[in-house]
Amino acid sequence: MLSRIFLPTIFVLLLYGFTVSTNFKDVAAGVALFMFGMLCMEQGFKVFSGGTLQGLLGASTDKLWKSLSFGLVSTSLMQSSSLVSVITISFLSAEMIGLAQGIGIVFGANLGTTTGAWIVAGFGLKVNISSYAMPMTVFGVLCLMQSSARLKGAGWILVGIGFLFLGIHYMKEGFSAYAQHIDLTAYAMTGIAGLLVFTLVGIVATVVMQSSHATLVLTITALAAGQVTYENALALAIGANVGTTITAILGSISSSISGKRLAGAHLIFNLVTGVIALFMIKPLMASVEAIAATVGIGADDYTLKLAIFHTLFNLLGVALMLPMIQPMVRWLEKHLRSESIERDVPRYLSAASLELPDVASHAALKETRHLFNNAFNLVCHGLDLRRRVVQGETDLQTLIDLPAELIDIDLDDQYTRMIKDIYGANIEFISKAQASASAEYAERFALLRRANIDIVAAIKATKHLRKNMHRYSRSPNPAIRREYNRFRVRAASVLRALASLNDEDDPVVTLLSLDQIKIEAVDAADHASSTIDQLIRRGEISSQMATSLMNDGIYVREIVEHLLAVAEAIIRASLPQGELLGNEMMLKIEDIADIARSMDGAAVTADTEYER
């Protein structure tokens, strides 16, 4: 509801802004390009996740000192802590590193950024990163056009960094008009008020210019020209340190919750460091004087003394905040939670139940049922069907002719929320239980393990099916639409039949009920393949549609087979030990095929359709 009002309001405000101010247009385009760059980078890093880059990152950030050094060195090379922070956010969003490692990098980046002050103050150099934007984008697009997945990944990263730079460039351009109004000499102040006001000016200037580096360059130049007092310059440097977090915050808007947590950690670190520096300004200044005297820096060389101060207070911040990394991780994980991502967790597993194999097998059975229940929802939604429709009284055959109603869900996100944690916990629990259980329980645990794997396989097959199903189940071509809807009905019929298995029945009777579901599934599969041949012969579908139908038919068969395998494994696992009656009374595969033949498509065709 809120987004329905919020989004149009943003559109209207943006349109208004674009018409009244060119600078606003530049700033907004800069923010958009910046965020697009973040998305491109995330896309690129995902290609490398699990591979060399992840190994490299893991090895260079597995210890705190390593992640600190990683941040320090990369920031010193790139001369932009903001860029290192946003790249770290995209690493984190792609789950290539953990939050603690990310925080280590950000702390290191804060130290690395102090080298900028030394370079500017010492050599007057400045690495202009934005000039690399265009070549990076060109090389990136060239890589994107290649067929190799790795080159494509590298392309996304290059294009991402290019857009990031371009975004920063546009933001700077847009804000240049406002930046001209920031005349430092006009606000020269002394005492605590001076400190606070200039810290604020430093924050605002950095937010406006999107670069603490730029603020420091301005400050050093102003200090060298005597436009700003030494004390005010120190406050500006503190402000620049706090203001630089805005880039990471902007970058985290389009990132996952872990990215937001890292931006939070960055903000906390820079705020705390800033506050400490403000409180300890006098001792810090005294230390700067002492260091300057020791290394032979002149008493009036304020620019180098500013560089010492910048390094010193960042070092102090890192030293004070290092022991706080783990508490900070815990705090951020507790307080920064995604509203949309509430993950379902295991309900029945506990370490204590592992002690007794009977209790453990019951717990594993219940948890597997829990997982199956969640998977049921996912598969229903993946087929663009509501659970209430699948389990209700609606005649599923009526869905065959109508264009499918889209259910807008992200299956990957749903998988993370509803399946991943329970699945992982189940496999771990079953493995541990199997290791300590006697042979009589071995089969039961093996069945449950298999059921869990089949549940996930059914979801994966649904995900693959969904790609073409989305397009064809709403196609204006009635022939292809009908066949894709028949796929949905095929899988939904199995889901409905499984849901109707009565828990109160004897487990052997329930197991025998599966024979009927299997026969209808075989009949439906036979009917589907004969229909494709007919449609091709009649020219009702193109050859491309026919191959899609054949390939997706395999996914439907997989969904059905995995669902049936899950149900069978769960029922067998709930049978009393040594119960073989079910095995003896279940139909053999040839009986199933024999009866299925006599059905002649009755499982997936309606009477009306048959008459056609």
């Binding site: 029945d505 006599s598 059905m599 048959y610």
Partner: protein
């Protein structure tokens, strides 16, 4: 009543070696009864069904249960045979 209970207890004692079989037969009878009930229910549905497809589906469902019951009877016969 008392005598009947005593006789049952005596029977249990004497047929201790047949206990697993007796348990299996009891279980088999229970399953066969449940299947018979299901079959009757489906036959009643078939009598009222109108559409050709619906009738074919129900006929097949009945056929599945018939074959399963047949297998159950075979199991019963083999248990009886092994007792003798």
């Amino acid at each position: 009543m008392k005598r009947k209970k005593l006789l049952e207890k005596l029977n249990t004692l004497l047929s201790a070696s047949n206990k697993p079989d007796a348990e299996q037969v009891r279980k088999l009878r229970k399953v066969l009864k449940a299947l018979k009930e299901k079959q009757n229910h489906l036959q009643a549905e078939l009598a009222e069904a109108e559409g050709e497809h619906e009738r074919r589906k129900l006929t097949n469902q009945i056929e599945v249960i018939r074959r399963q019951r047949e297998k159950g009877v075979e199991v019963y016969k083999s248990i009886k045979g092994s007792r003798q």
